[in-house]
Subunit: 337 residues, 3 copies
């Protein structure tokens, strides 16, 4: 394994094997597995879980890491090809990233969607341009329309809890004060489909996921035996649901138009997850969210603080899931399993 950029690059069995390695490392720590190995972490955008769990993951495997945050302590980095660099960015990723790769044994890069041109973002234009100049193992720490580390941790959470493969998994839009990216909903719908679940995307008008994202998830479902549908009707979606996974994202009908998006969501304040949402769900329906979450805007306090929530387990699982990825990318020893 040389890159971890998208769960879709792996078969269902390969993902389950990664999760199995993650579970193994939880029970049988390997504090020297990555001794002497160095991970460079480049964050074009804020982070809490990714920032801390990758550093900790390297430490727990005996390796180390360094963090670069363009524009904060280091230069702003230009990503556009052919740019005449007379603006704010002092350095281009075509120099910056190969240099960092030359110091490290692997790189991780976080670069959110620009949020202006949907096709540009769906094509992962910026991330692919960066990935093309890195000749070391590379990890996607969240790109325009993907977040494979989150998806892997979420999948592990479902395995840890023995959620049936065919259980009903509802991915619901939730409200937010601002436009947010498509990366997590795109990764989540694909992950649940690839796992073989009965996936329903619940979202208001104007917030349909792009066809490219839905089609990719449906292709995964076709292989795994799952299904992917979508609806605007909450009652239909939640009927018999085993998992409600909430996430905020921007209007795809008004991509790049923050004012139109704001006008649309002004009437959507009831898209804040509350206990009443679960009336027709399975009795032990659990609540998932990738975090960070806006309390009492996207999700009510009583859900986050109540027994349905498994958001902290998801967040914790970032650590072992990523340790498995790092182990596969960087360990030179034979697996001790």
């Amino acid at each position: 394994m040389n890159r971890f950029l998208d769960l879709a690059d792996f078969s269902r069995e390969e993902v389950l094997d990664l999760i199995s390695l993650a579970q193994h490392l939880e029970k049988h720590p390997e504090p020297q597995a990555l001794a002497g190995k160095i991970l460079g972490l480049v964050f074009f955008n804020p982070s809490l879980r990714t920032l801390s769990s990758f550093q900790v993951g390297m430490m727990r495997l005996g390796g180390s890491s360094f963090v670069i945050t363009p524009g904060q302590g280091t230069w702003q980095l230009e990503t556009r090809t052919g740019a005449v660099m007379n603006g704010g960015a002092a350095e281009h990723v075509r120099e910056g990233l190969p240099v960092l790769a030359s110091y490290a044994d692997a790189l991780g890069i976080r670069a959110f969607a620009e949020g202006k041109d949907l096709q540009y973002d769906l094509a992962e234009t910026a991330f692919k341009a960066m990935a093309s100049v890195v000749d070391k193992p590379l990890i996607n720490l969240e790109s325009a329309v993907n977040h494979p580390c989150q998806a892997l941790a979420d999948w592990k959470t479902l395995e840890d809890r023995h959620v049936p493969q065919r259980a009903k998994f509802v991915l619901s839009w939730a409200n937010h004060p601002r436009v947010t990216p498509l990366a997590v909903p795109a990764a989540t719908v694909h992950m649940a489909a690839q796992r073989g679940m009965e996936v329903v995307v619940l979202r208001p008008e104007g917030y349909a996921l792009p066809p490219e994202i839905m089609d990719k998830a449906r292709a995964a479902a076709a292989t795994s035996g799952g299904s992917v549908t979508e609806t605007t009707d909450r009652a239909t979606a939640m009927q018999g649901a085993h998992i409600l996974y909430a996430k905020e994202w921007g209007s795809t009908a008004h991509y790049g138009d923050a004012a139109a998006d704001a006008a649309l969501r002004a009437n959507l304040s009831d898209w804040c997850v509350r206990e009443s949402w679960f009336d027709t769900a399975a009795a032990d329906c659990k609540f998932m969210h990738c975090l960070p979450v806006r309390r009492n805007v996207a999700v009510a306090d009583d859900i986050l603080d109540g027994p349905r929530s498994i958001v902290l387990q998801e967040a914790y699982n970032r650590l072992p899931a990523q340790m498995a990825v790092l182990h596969r990318l960087l360990s030179t020893g034979v697996s001790q399993r």
Copy 2:
């Protein structure tokens, strides 16, 4: 020992035992004592000594650490209970801190006073709300009205220099261009009282420490055999003093009112410590300050650069003092003393 939040949680003998461990570690390094242990450091506010000495302390004991700075590279974190999070903060400490704790073996948190409501700050409302959601060993890196790591380092400095237990210790207000918190004066007056010293708080009108802080220090003095008094008269305070500990803090008569505070301190420019302050002090009276210090506003150059100053020794002592705390919180081995 599972938490290090306040020197008042420990008896005088327990504090002296921590200091003894710190002195031991200086002479007998234990570079593997915390091998594999990871400390998460969360800084809501700026830091120099705490930021560097905790990282170094973990390194010198064979462990490692990571730093999270809300709002700089990571999300702003909300601390208010029940908040409707439609503002700047993307995440609540009720999620953020348990997540970080789940990755680490211990957390340290710095969160200065809000400086708006004195009772809110005196009650350590924000810090206690955060501490309540952390289920790992926890260190107070400076809260609204406490700074136990500074107090422990200062106490060690007094021990290292063999300052007599009953010596006169003057905590004096000093000027500053802005309102600053009560954490260090509160921790300092308590530390000196708990050590059993003759403590005098010297401050201008309007800058009396709150009764809650003075009463807590007096209770400590009652147990240790020390005393705590206060005065606005510099000559009285400094008469026979062995230690002058200067610190800036905001007006408690005008708490949360920066304009009234500024008007009050406009006439207090002579509260900049100079050699003349020491005319009636003990001949070898030493000068202490927790740093950072505003030269020639709070303290004159000649004091900081002269033989009375032991501020660098205090700052250095942050390292061994905190190494003792970390050793107690995280070492699983038998003490090698």
Copy 3:
């Protein structure tokens, strides 16, 4: 070796010996050479290569490091002697740096030129004031008019590529949207002269390097058998050149006057390095730049992406070159060469 502040502090042979150690460490890693050693890194200005390569260098030698960025997570630090500190800076370097030095085994400091007073900057006034209060091994991570780590890495690059000692080395001014410091051109002209090369400084009117910098380089050339000349004529300079080293710097005729500098460089847009510059150069003339570089302002894409460019090799060489410096400063063992 106790300080690494200026290549001019070392003989040509001593520099070559450092480079030899760097080359040795590339082939024969010493992952425990600096076990237990801690480097403190203080960055008053942005960095990418220095920030990452020093952290990685310590890791690869078994040591560790911490990073302090005044004004970002830590206090702004005052550097002026005798300042009345009632402005933005909460702490003076006279306290801050000795404190950090007391925690670490060595410090590195980056502090760019103020860019207001040429004589103040040429005298390294600020850096020298800081160096004077640090009693541990110290590394110059770029000061007002020096960047010895870059110079050492560049020299190593010339050795790695077997560039003849007497080859023609052209240091050319290049355009930039803003005024930038003299540190790299000053270090580069001296490095190439000290190596014994035929050095030509090519720059437009108004951008002559100060006599102090040129004289220092000429003194080095006198010892090494090299030469240093300057010209405004590109064709003359490039005739037979083996190396073109481009760098942006501010007008010395208008030092501290950004408006006059901008007016001057408005007509200098052809000082963007292109293939046509190399018409009369040696056939395999290579292109060097310290990075970061403004693409299509200072250097055209086709040069940076083409076969002449060795900028990534230069940047990579920061790592082994600095590992040699760290080894000399901090290793207590006998060299294993």
